[in-house]
């Protein structure tokens, strides 16, 4: 197996005081290879954003902190790195797009200044070259007549256009990994499709690996080859998209897929699983899905199930469906 681009191992993130921490991310393992597109799916509050923010150490600190784990990018340990050094990787090697296009751009800076800043922070370019590059990027993300929009401010753009500008900022330095946290959730459906197409387009042109976060499995199926299912701060299943749709192992994943008959369905939506996501940190032992699971057994309440394999690249953490105890090969 090739060396991973991004390798997250046993990541734990806590909130609140150190004396009484609330653990919101629990031993998350995540791997993205160069050029690969991986999705994370899960209900609201399952820890998708905190996981993705942790990679660039952007979790708000305080109140939260990365308690333990390893995050390696091209073999370099991001958690051990001084912040000053990590800063040079932000935007250059790993870039991020956020959910809220309306508030993620600085309201008092022009679009040119904001995209130009992303270039300027990592590349030595003259003013004229930088402007040419900004125009090129705006064209890449499909903003019509980019020359005339350079001096425009974010409030003069629609939500979809702002998300395009965010993507232009993110790809300004040809990052090796693009993390997109619900990039289309705030947009209406037609614009959603356009932005997803743009991301696929960018990936094809720049060969960027993508980590796409969404609560919509349909969105992920459209872009990604592999998907992680998160529940209450745990990764409960990790599989190739096709394998996940055809052979879901975790009862939670099956719940998610219940309303989704096949991959060809346009936009499979989250099936409403009875009950609600447990309060962060409320589960001290056993399986986090216990309260809502219709396959639960005695052991589920006592011990957290380990990951077991269900195919070439398919693991799930469930006592009921596990075939054999597994040692996950990295």
């Amino acid at each position: 197996m090739s060396a991973p681009l991004l390798n997250v191992e046993s990541l734990c993130v806590e909130f609140g005081p150190k004396s009484a921490p609330i653990r919101v991310i629990n031993s998350v393992n995540l791997r993205v290879d160069a050029g690969e597109a991986v999705g994370i799916v899960g209900e609201s509050g399952s820890g998708k954003s905190i996981t993705s923010l942790s990679i660039l150490r952007l979790v708000p600190e305080p109140p939260s902190r990365i308690a333990s784990g390893r995050i390696e990018f091209e073999g370099r340990d991001l958690l051990a790195m001084p912040k000053s050094q990590l800063r040079h990787m932000r935007g250059r090697d790993i870039a991020m797009i956020f959910q809220e296009p309306m508030s993620s751009l600085n309201p008092v800076m022009t679009v040119e200044a904001q995209i130009g800043e992303a270039i300027m922070l990592h590349q030595r370019l003259g003013r004229a070259e930088r402007r040419a590059r900004v125009i090129e990027l705006l064209r890449l993300v499909g903003i019509p007549d980019p020359e005339s929009r350079l001096k425009a401010y974010p409030h003069q753009f629609s939500g979809g256009m702002r998300q395009r500008v965010m993507i232009a900022i993110a790809v300004a330095c040809n990052p090796k990994l693009l993390i997109a946290d619900e990039p289309t959730t705030a947009l209406d459906v037609t614009i959603q499709a356009q932005v997803l197409d743009l991301m696929k387009d960018v990936r094809r042109k720049l060969n960027t690996a993508i980590l796409l976060i969404s609560h919509d499995l349909g969105v992920i199926a459209e872009v990604c080859e592999r998907v992680l299912v998160m529940y209450a701060g745990h990764v409960v299943e990790d599989a190739d998209i096709r394998s996940l749709f055809e052979n879901p192992q975790h009862p939670y994943t099956r719940g998610l897929l219940r309303a989704v008959p096949s991959l060809t369905d346009e936009h499979p939506r989250l099936y409403q699983i009875p009950g609600s996501v447990p309060q962060a940190g409320s589960i001290r032992q056993g399986c986090p899905f216990y309260a809502r699971c219709d396959l639960r057994q005695d052991i589920c309440a006592r011990a957290m199930p380990a990951m077991s394999t269900h195919g070439a690249r398919h693991v799930a953490a469930c006592w009921a469906t596990q075939s054999m105890p597994e040692v996950r090969s990295a």
Partner: protein
């Protein structure tokens, strides 16, 4: 932009008229005959009659009002009853000193207040923040006249480092004279501006676009100054306006303590001497300054915030 400024200036005309009308009404309609108020209960009837004649108090109210407006727009407020000089001359002689004092105090307040607020916000709940909290409490709690007196006693009378009163002649001696009065006024400004900076910067640093800036790889310094402070300036500009206006009241105490000429002192003297035309002119000047400062702050707002500029 030019259009907006024009509209905004036009907009302030009704405000100015309203303020002038209120001043006029306050002086004429409120109980008490101005003639008696100025000349005293025991004045001779002829004196009162002459006074009423001289100031047109026998005219119908609307005519008095028109005269009053005419006087204001020609800056003709008549003569002082006590000092043998036209009121406009008195104002013209004193206003520059108050403006000078305000500018000096604002410069000190901004130069030290903003960095203190930034430090406090960035080092939130750490030593710099706590130190600043104590400082601003003191700044708020100590009254101008008391602080002025302490500074005067210590540094002028005690140590002899600064002149005791007056304003000085050449630039260096003017600065020397203005240092302590300006510092007195600036303490409150530093506390006020610093607190405002801290609050609005903290609010702004939690915004999504600040996270975007960090994700781009911007240094913490750049995040704070380029993205944070620039946005925090929006609420700050209103606060700066308020701070300028508070100088007007502060200048009264400071000009008295340091025995400096100025509009605050002129007005206090006029009130104790019942110098009716000077009081009226002083109130009009204060009111106009309030309107003008508000207008300027609006324009600063427009310069900083593109969302207002375009509409």
């Amino acid at each position: 932009m030019a259009r907006y400024i024009f509209v905004r200036v036009l907009d302030s005309i009704p405000t100015i008229l309203l303020v002038l009308t209120l001043v006029f009404l306050a002086m004429r309609i409120l109980p008490g005959d101005p003639a008696i108020a100025v000349l005293g209960e025991n004045a001779q009837p002829e004196t009162i009659a002459r006074f009423r004649e001289q100031f047109g108090l026998n005219d119908p109210l609307w005519l008095q009002y028109l005269h009053f407006l005419g006087d204001v727009f020609t800056f003709d407020f008549g003569n002082s009853l006590v000092k043998s000089a036209p009121v406009s001359t008195l104002i013209a002689n004193n206003l520059p000193y108050t403006i000078e004092l305000t500018i000096a105090a604002m410069l000190i307040g901004i130069t030290f207040g903003i960095p203190m607020g930034v430090m406090a916000a960035v080092k939130r709940n750490k030593l710099p923040d706590n130190a600043f909290r104590v400082f601003s409490l003191v700044g708020y709690a100590v009254p101008d006249f008391y602080l002025g007196a302490v500074l005067l006693l210590t540094f002028s009378l005690g140590l002899g480092w600064f002149p005791i009163n007056g304003v000085g002649t050449d630039f260096v001696s003017r600065m020397h004279h203005i240092a302590l009065p300006a510092l007195t006024l600036a303490m409150l400004k530093m506390a006020f501006i610093g607190r405002l900076t801290r609050t609005s910067l903290l609010e702004v640093l939690g915004r999504d676009y600040v996270r975007t800036a960090r994700a781009k790889g911007a240094s913490e310094r750049r995040v704070v100054y380029r993205h944070g402070l620039r946005n925090a300036l929006l609420p700050l500009s209103t606060g700066l306006g308020l701070s300028i206006l508070s100088t007007l009241s502060g200048s009264v105490a400071v000009e008295l303590v340091f025995n400096r000429p100025g509009i605050g002192r002129l007005l206090i003297e006029a009130i104790t001497e019942r110098d009716y035309p000077v009081i009226q002119a002083g109130v009009v000047v204060f009111a106009l300054v309030v309107v003008i400062v508000n207008l300027l702050m609006d324009l600063v707002y427009v310069a900083v915030d593109p969302r207002i500029r375009v509409q």
